[in-house]
Symmetry: C2
Subunit: 105 residues, 2 copies
């Protein structure tokens, strides 16, 4: 929910790698993550938990496995936030430019 939490979850190379692989379709279970990333299962689990808390992935226990899937909603929220910042900045620059022009005339 909190935007800072989303960014924080993305702010780690291992987690970014997980997200990147998930978005292109690999890494389906907890153990495949730990194998592919070369971490212990618990190490992988902690990272996945962080991502799940930020709602960037979903973890569903299914029989013996825990299936990991990508959840793009939070990513969209992060995207919107960044865009909003860029927009604010542009508006401000534009205001400054207009002020400078007004100064000239």
């Amino acid at each position: 929910m909190l935007i800072a939490e989303t960014f924080k979850a993305l702010g780690d190379p291992v987690r970014l790698e997980i997200i990147e692989r998930l978005s292109s379709g690999s890494l389906y279970t907890l153990s495949s993550v730990s194998k592919d990333l070369g971490l212990t299962r618990q190490g992988a689990r902690k990272h996945l938990q962080v991502l799940a808390d930020a709602e960037l992935i979903k973890m569903e226990p299914t029989g013996r496995n825990t299936i990991i899937t990508f959840a793009p909603a939070s990513l969209k929220a992060a995207d919107s936030f960044i865009k909003q910042l860029e927009r604010k900045w542009d508006v401000r620059l534009e205001a400054l430019r207009e002020f400078a022009e007004g100064d000239k005339s």
Copy 2:
């Protein structure tokens, strides 16, 4: 430079607040940041250093003050990264959809 570093820098409520205020034009110096955010000067400085290392802001010593300015380039990079993830995901969903259709015919 590293995308994870950018996200990490954004992954803290205080720093997000700083960036947000900067993008709309307030918070010009180190001390104004510390005053407005209610931190000690050194606390503020550490946060600003993190943002500067991630190249999200510029700090330039100017006489007695240190002027803080917003630097939107890294933000654009983060934006592109997120977009690329979303695109990958969409491509994959599309492939799945086509596969399902092929299955039907």
